[in-house]
Every structure is written in C-alpha cells, then in structure tokens.
Subunit: 291 residues, 2 copies
C-alpha cells in the first residue's frame, strides 16, 4: 500500500502535536486532524491536512490514529468514551497514544483495543518543543513488536531515538523514569545557581566551571542560561510536569517504592502552582528559592 | 627562571594528588613530596620526586606549595599549624590548596598568607580520578588574578578547564555549586533506575531512551551502567561527598539559604554511612532504595 493511501488521523494539535503531525504530512501520508480548539489546527489544514469534526468521524476514516492530548482523563475519554476511538475505528487499525499518561491506562486501552482486533501502542516522547520541531524526539514505546515494526517508518518521521521498551504500558513507565530523573536534576540546578548568587559568585563564570564534568546535565545546560536571564517562558509547562510527577508518584506508591527526591520536587512545584505559576516553564522553580 | 629551577612542593599523594603531582614532574619542574603515609608517595619518588620528612621541611625549600589532603581540619593543620606551611615557607612564595574545603577557611589562609607576603589560591577540582589521571580536571580558583596568571602554566598541566572564579574562597564556593548540583542529580539517577527495575522494565533498554534528552546527565551516563552491574567501587568516596555536602549546608545556612534537595541527599547518604558504606562510591546510594 502506497503512503498516500494510508489514512492517518491525528488528535491533539498543540505545540508538540502540530509539529509532529506536520512531519507526517511532509512524509507523504494522507492526514486528518481533530482538536478541541479548531484554530490550533489551522496551520496543518493550510498545509493540506483534512479537518474532521469529531473524534468519532476521524476514527472511522483512519487506518492509524495518533493522539497527543493533555491529561490522562482526556486520553481516557478520547479512547474509551462512547464517541471515542475504540468504538469507532475499524478492525485491523492502529492506535498510538503519545501523551505522557498512566501506564495502567495504556494497558486498559491496549486490552480494549485488542478485543476489537485493533493494535495499540503507548509512545510518549521526550525532547520538548525543539525536538518535536526538528523531528528528533526520543520515543519510548510499549506494545506488541509487530505493531511497533509496522509503524516504525511513521515514528521515524517524528523522532531519532525510537525504542520498544516492552509490552503495553512500558513506554509510559519509561517516560516516568525520564521524568523522575529530571525532577531531581532541576532542583540541583536551581540550588546550585541560588547558592552561586547568594555567595557572591558570578553565575555565568560558575557555569563555565560546572557546565562540564560531574555536575553537567541537559537540565543545567538548557535551563541555567535562561534562569540567569530570568527567562521563564515554557519549554515545558509546570502544569504538565506536575501531572507527570503525580502519575510517577502514584505508580511508585503502587509498587511500594519510596522516592523521596521525587516527592520533594512535586512538593516544591505544588507551591509554584499555588502561586499561580502553572503556565511558566519548569525552570521557574528557581524563583521559589529566592522567596 | 627555568622550570627546573622552580621548586614545587606537593602535600597529599592520595589517588588524586599522585596523578596531579605526576603531571607536574612530567612538566619538567623540580618536585618535592610529603604525605602522612610515605608508602603512597613511592611511585612519585621512583619517578624522581624528592621525599621530605615534614610539612615544615618541604615548605622551607619550596617556591610553590600545592596541597590536596582530606578534610578541612587537615587543611587547617597543614597551613596554619605551628609546623605548618605559612610558618615555614619563605616570603614571595605561592600556596595552592586543591582540597575541597571550607570557603571561610580558604579566606583565613589567604589572609594569614598575605600578612607574610605569601600568595594563596584556593583551587578545588572536579573530574575525579579519571580527570586527574588524564590531566583533564576542571579547576575552580579563588584568589588574586596576578597569582592566578603566574601559576596558570602549572594548572594547565593538571587540568583543561581552568577558571578564576573570584577572590579568596570563590574556588571553594564554586566547587560547592558543583557538589550541590550533583547531590540532587544522583538521587534522580537512583530513583529512575529503581523505578525501572520495580516496574518490570529492562533497565539497559531504559537507558537507551533516557540517556540522551532531558534526563541526560554526567551522573546518569557515568554511574547508571555501574549501578546495573552492582559495581560500587569508588570513583568518588561517599565519605568525601558527605564532607562536601556538610560544608555546603553550613555555608548555605550561614547565607540564610534553604536547600531542601541538598538536605535530603545528605540525609540519605548519612544513612549509608550509618550502614558502614562510607568507602563505597557515591553510586551506592542506589542500594538504599532497594532496602
């Protein structure tokens, strides 16, 4: 089957989704789109994507549906709701949730899909808006190997580091590992920078010493320069990070696992949310230390 | 003055010091050494270094004295004790403490040295045993610019990233920033890996996804592979890391700065010390999460 005969439906055309869907169009596939707020899909529509008025309508006409929406409750509704994907997509189709969401929900979707002979993958991503724009995302996938292999050419349009992590839910669990590491790293970045400031050092010069070697990290190198310019524009929204940490903490608790640094990070970010800063970038944690 | 006429005295020939002193010998300088345990200096002596029986004797004959010893109390004794460096070294000489030690002590040594017309620098390092062996350390320096410039050729034998951070104590403060960032990072690495294990993921495969991108860090890339092999041999001793965190916490408290992630990390490592694990590497923090 030629690419132009494969109908891909894409649900969720926010900053990440729009960039990812755009790469699929560039790849030569036929693309339909749906989003709660239509205006956010207009760039894709102008580029040749077909607008669909509902999840159900989009699902009926698609061989593959890809979703990247907000929160687990949105994922649940889009997939398992009365007018959701699973109730409307045809047998033999593929569904791929790229939202960062609950591993348990990914398994539930996989099972509901399987009952109807639909192939489901969970495939959350890392790499942020820049990675989405450049098609260099890290994509962490859970589900059956055959489905993974069949969709690989499509993943390769969106990302560079594409890894099947295991059965359904394994993509989401891997994304939790990623977020758990970040949750601690960003605290270290902020504490190091606020110490530098309070001890009278020149923070830019400090970065020259600590930006390589044992303290080096993606978080330090990406965010410290922004923090020093008081640039708190979101590369990654605080509200989304808190959602991810909440999932990770619930999953860890269910495994009987204590993660005190993750708990602390969640607690600090909760304070930022109380201060109305949920739409700032995660680097705004620094401000909490200045209070 | 030719290099072979400059007498450099080196105190503290542990793993780090021996490698660093060896580069100075290779650089063509005349090197004297002293260490509490003479046997640890034997490789250097075999290579041409001259053994001195005491700090005082070494200091009397040196134009430059470099130290890298264990704890702040050792630094204080070696510099400011009755038979220490400052009481014995000649006017116009240079002293460089490369131990990770207290910023306040660095200032005290600088002032005591200045009174006797001796030039003092604090110059702690980052990069571990590998960086010392390869001469690629990051060296963070506090003190007067002129002294820094005069000793730069010697620093360049030991390190690659050599930065004057400010006046006396600034090298130590910068090292504290480095350790503060690490204190959080290593918790994130361990929590991510233990989550991977408990959730049934293949940890090696998880590293393929999270080892690049937002969760990437020197700590993750250096220590996760060792943790997965249960290799807890010290690249950096827990006992030394706890010493560093203790200094950082004391300094932060003195500035009225709250660093909850650093406090948490210190608390977790204190538990490892209670378990008798002070001579393991810092990556052994992972074991605490398995308890």
């Amino acid at each position: 089957m030629s690419k132009s005969n494969i109908n891909i439906g894409f649900i969720g055309t926010g900053v990440m989704g729009s960039a990812m869907a755009s790469h699929i169009l560039d790849g030569g596939y036929k693309l339909s789109v749906y989003n709660r707020t239509k205006i956010k899909a207009s760039a894709l529509i102008n580029k040749g994507a077909i607008w669909k008025d509902s999840v159900a309508e989009l699902s009926k006409d698609s061989d593959i549906v890809i979703t990247i929406v907000g929160y687990p409750k949105d994922v649940e509704e889009v997939y398992l709701g009365e007018n959701g994907i699973i109730n409307n997509i045809k047998k033999g189709s593929y569904v791929v949730d790229m939202t960062t969401s609950k591993p348990s929900l990914a398994k539930k979707i996989y099972n509901a899909a399987k009952e109807k002979e639909i192939f489901a993958l969970d495939a959350p991503v890392s790499g942020g808006d820049v990675g989405a724009a450049e098609g260099t995302l890290s994509i962490m996938i859970g589900g059956d190997r055959e489905a993974f292999e069949n969709l690989k050419p499509i993943f390769q349009l969106m990302g560079k580091n594409i890894v099947l992590q295991g059965s359904a839910g394994a993509g989401q669990h891997t994304k939790m590992c990623n977020q758990i590491a970040i949750a601690s790293n960003i605290m270290g970045v902020c504490e190091a920078l606020v110490y530098a400031k309070k001890s009278g050092l020149d923070s830019e010069t400090v970065l020259k010493s600590i930006g390589t070697g044992g303290a080096a990290s993606w978080q330090l190198n990406a965010y410290a320069p922004r923090i020093l310019k008081s640039d708190y524009a979101p590369g990654f929204y605080i509200k989304h990070f808190v959602k991810d940490m909440k999932i990770a903490l619930e999953e860890a608790a269910a495994m009987g696992l204590d993660t005190p640094a993750l708990s602390l990070s969640k607690k600090l970010y909760d304070k930022l949310i109380e201060q109305g800063k949920e739409d700032l970038g995660t680097q705004a944690l620094y401000e909490l230390y200045l209070d």
